[in-house]
């Protein structure tokens, strides 16, 4: 009998996994099933109803009645299930990988207990317009969680209405607009200042809210340039939308000076805390002088990312800005919880009802499992993990971490493979696709690529030292391959679900196929 275990190590180090992602070569769902097959039967209409009503279409104009049935698949229940299980297996969730590669996204563990609790019928089967006396439990969760966020941020009121981080940024921009309108200064104050290492939505949402956007770039230390800020500020300044630490993971120590300068000019300061994972219990929006902030519950607060939502961008403000928050707010009079609509200066509704309740519940449960000490532990370990990984990555040939050389980073790092590219011709995104061959994600950066050949890694608190070692070993292996055999990397992936994609049709209106219906017409040439 071989010592199989020993064969899994080389020079005392574990070998890289011989990974291959699930590859079912799965047909498109329209290719499955047979005419007449059924996936589920709907409740029958009882005879008493049928008898009384007669023709259910009576009174509906013929022009409103559908003549041809929709060309949906016709499949048995097990066939639908198997199809979706197959394609779910072709998706790399946090549950199945060392997900440090999707930097800025805070891909931490989403506790299963919280998912289970959110499936209780006391939540799933609640209608949002039920009488308040019948929804005291969920209102209590909203209210309790708001108290937690107030403590974590130092701000005075929160809404859970925005449907994710960008909606929260927009909400903040809208509140800034409403505030200046209330002061009679909106005509003049039409500029929002942000930074290039803040999320693209900080710029984009400000624009939708009607502001001209001024973007600051970093100085050689990696901080947004304070002289550029001073030059940008004027009596037209409505506000500042900024992240700290920015995507580089560098904390801007002059942040209080930034908010002071903007306040002195009459502007408001909004803290994009989509990702606050490295600073929970360490530093807060209040002390840095912010008037508004938001937290992505699917990032820092562990609610699962769901392939991109549903989510909550919890949005908080100081006392002065409470009147402008979206309605309703959840309140407590000492005996009962209730929805308070009495805010005449509110910006109004950001979404239907009150927010994604299961996400609020999961975030609340997460905090209740950790407490103040646990939240601080989250931050500390996230930062420790990040600096540990930083050391490992910087030891890899061709890697660098631009700006603030030798300094510590908070929760993530934006690396550069510029040197590797210059020496091998292999781009950062190509390294990422090769990394997928080993079962992990890897993300470059938002555009524009201010850091050349960028790569953003964020280890969070959820991965062990061995897992960080494994991730670094994968990246090291891929970088070494780039030096030894660039074509090997450029032709990846080999072990993914699918092979290199032809991107060209995606930007050609004559060829792009956004649905199967368009594909049938454009690629299969089936007349519709």
């Amino acid at each position: 009998m071989n010592n199989i275990t020993a064969e899994r190590f080389t020079d005392g180090k574990p070998n890289l996994r011989r990974f291959h992602q699930a590859s079912w070569d799965e047909p498109i769902i329209f290719e499955l099933g047979q005419p007449g097959q059924r996936g589920i039967l709907v409740p029958e209409v009882e005879e008493g109803i049928k008898f009384q009503v007669g023709d259910p279409f009576k009174g509906i104009p013929d022009s409103l009645l559908r003549k041809d049935p929709p060309e949906l698949p016709e499949m048995s229940q097990p066939a639908v299930l198997r199809h979706y299980v197959h394609i779910s297996q072709e998706t790399l969730g946090v549950d199945c990988n060392i997900d440090v590669g999707q930097g800025t996204c805070t891909m931490k563990y989403s506790p299963k207990i919280n998912d289970q609790l959110a499936r209780m019928t006391e939540l799933t089967e609640l209608h949002p317009l039920q009488d308040e006396t019948t929804v005291q439990g969920i209102l209590e969760i909203f209210w309790r969680f708001e108290q937690m966020l107030k403590e974590i941020s130092g701000l005075d009121r929160f809404t859970m209405q925005p449907g994710a981080g960008s909606a929260a940024i927009y909400t903040n921009a809208s509140i800034i607009r409403a505030y200046h309108a209330s002061m009679g200064e909106l005509d003049r104050r039409d500029e929002i200042i942000t930074t290039i290492f803040s999320h693209p939505s900080d710029a984009a949402c400000a624009k939708v809210a009607g502001f001209k956007v001024i973007t600051l770039y970093p100085n050689e230390d990696g901080y947004p340039d304070i002289e550029a800020l001073k030059a940008a500020i004027s009596d037209r300044t409505a506000g500042l939308l900024i992240t700290n630490p920015e995507d580089t993971g560098i904390y801007n120590p002059k942040i209080a000076e930034f908010t002071r300068l903007v306040h002195a000019a009459g502007g408001l300061c909004s803290y994009d805390q989509a990702n606050a994972n490295g600073i929970l219990g360490i530093t807060r929006a209040r002390e840095a002088g912010f008037d508004l902030c938001h937290f992505n519950l699917h990032k820092t607060f562990s609610t699962p990312h769901g392939c991109g939502g549903p989510a909550v961008g919890a949005t908080g403000v100081t006392k002065e800005l409470i009147p402008f928050l979206p309605v309703p707010l959840v309140d407590f009079d000492g005996e009962k919880y209730y929805l308070d609509y009495d805010f005449p200066n509110s910006i109004g509704k950001i979404r239907p009802f009150y927010g994604v309740a299961p996400a609020v519940l999961k975030a609340y449960a997460w905090v209740m499992a950790l407490g103040a000490e646990g939240l601080r532990e989250v931050a500390e370990i996230a930062v420790l993990n990040n600096n540990y990984l930083l050391k490992k990555i910087l030891a890899i040939r061709g890697a660098s971490a631009p700006y603030a050389e030798g300094k510590r980073r908070i929760e993530q790092v934006r690396y550069s493979w510029e040197k590797l590219y210059e020496e091998t011709g292999v781009h950062s995104d190509e390294l990422g696709i090769r990394a997928a061959d080993f079962g992990v994600h890897y993300w470059t950066s938002h555009h524009p690529y201010v850091v050349p050949e960028p790569c953003t890694l964020e280890p969070t608190e959820s991965y062990s030292k061995e897992e960080l070692d494994e991730y670094a070993a994968i990246i090291e292996n891929v970088a070494n391959e780039a030096y030894a055999d660039p074509e090997l990397v450029k032709n990846a992936p080999y072990n993914s679900t699918v092979h290199t994609i032809d991107h060209y049709p995606l930007d050609d209106p004559q060829q792009w196929c956004i649905t199967w219906r368009a594909y049938k017409r454009k690629a299969q040439k089936i007349p519709v």
């Binding site: 209608h127 969920i138 449907g163 950001i350 956004i514």
Partner: protein, 464 residues
Amino acid sequence: MANNKTVYPYIPNSEPNIKTQMLKEVNANSVNELYSDIPAQLRFKGQMNLPVPFVSEYGLRRHIEKILGKNKSTKQFLNFLGAGCYQHYVPAVCDEINSRGEFLTAYAGEPYDDHGRFQSLFEYTSMMAELLEMDVVSVPTYDGFQAAATALRMACRITGRNKVLLPETIGRDLLSKICDYLRNDIEIITLKHNALTGGIDLNHLEDLISKDIAAVFFENPSYLGFFEINGEKIADIAHQNGAICIVSVDPISLGVITPPSHYGADIVVGDIQPLGMHMLFGGGQAGFIASRDEEKYVMQYPSRLFGIVPTRVKGEYGFGDVAYDRTSFARREEGNEWVGTAAALWGITAGVYLALMGPQGMKEIGEGILYRSQYAKQEMNKIANVSAGVFQAPQFKEFVVKFDNTGKTVAEINHSLLEKRIFGGKDLSHEFPWLGESALFCFTEIHTKEDIDQLITTLKEVLA
């Protein structure tokens, strides 16, 4: 290292020995050193004032169950509330798929490592496209409100105009959302309704339409439940003036009801919550935007659009982002509005729902809803002094019930119904004062004859 410190199950390196070892590896004596860039005056002093945690999973479960146990759900009470969030049956397979960890915990990976996410969302948009008979459908927006507001902005960008027409019968919350979203640069003008049908007053539309109008928006069925029977005429009037016709639709009606593309809609929007999402206290909403496959429309979508493409292996399907450069991910404030996390998992779930239902299921559910709502309306009208169906146009699953002649307010009636374990219709008396003491009742395939009869009997008792 002997230590009483908690080792957190969610945090592998919270084990003190590992933490110490890692600190050593990064040449730090304490974690505090890693925060050296954060000035002392910005440091939070002491420990946050948060509740004492339930460190055991069992304790946490008990705590949450106790709080949620204070709710009374629609499992315990008979529910006739709709108004944008609907109680339909959620097939078990929908929950099974959206609970799978691979989908539940994935996020923003590439088409290689997240091929299944791309395929499932492409299939969702493709099934919606069949339901809507339109060639382009977005991945989910946050909710139907966002879809409507964005469609109005798209129409303004396409036409280069900045005025939009909306019916006065849309819900106040949707109107509030649209006002906030368009406030900066778009004028919103409301269209009067036809008192008889509830639909848009065509004369008023003719008066207001002009070459300055970017879009005419309406709902079918409307917030107040009735069908807009003049869809084609409205679209024609819009088109004659170069305006875009936007229709918001309830997707679960489309097994039996004509998709708006057939009567002239250029952009169709709505909320997919009815297609396999639980009500979740309003957390199951997700929006869609659909249009024809024309470059001038496609290039104005803010959201991601997934396209199907070949790979280097013959016969292998691949996916990618269509016209990515239109988005704020690519061009920040120069992109269309913004793109970000929205409600993807609900899109995958709606795909599962449509695949399970198929054409026959969608037809039967539409028919079944029409049967039940008509039965309920007929029975309501048998109650003395109650008038169900204020508008003559036919309804889908909801209709307005007037209680003006009963001598009771809707609030009083709903309170009495609540005591009999019934959630009555949504009180419209504040939202639409011109409807008097009215409520919006909703009936779906989940209601049995017995349920509806119980409502009627109880209403009779309450009003007696």
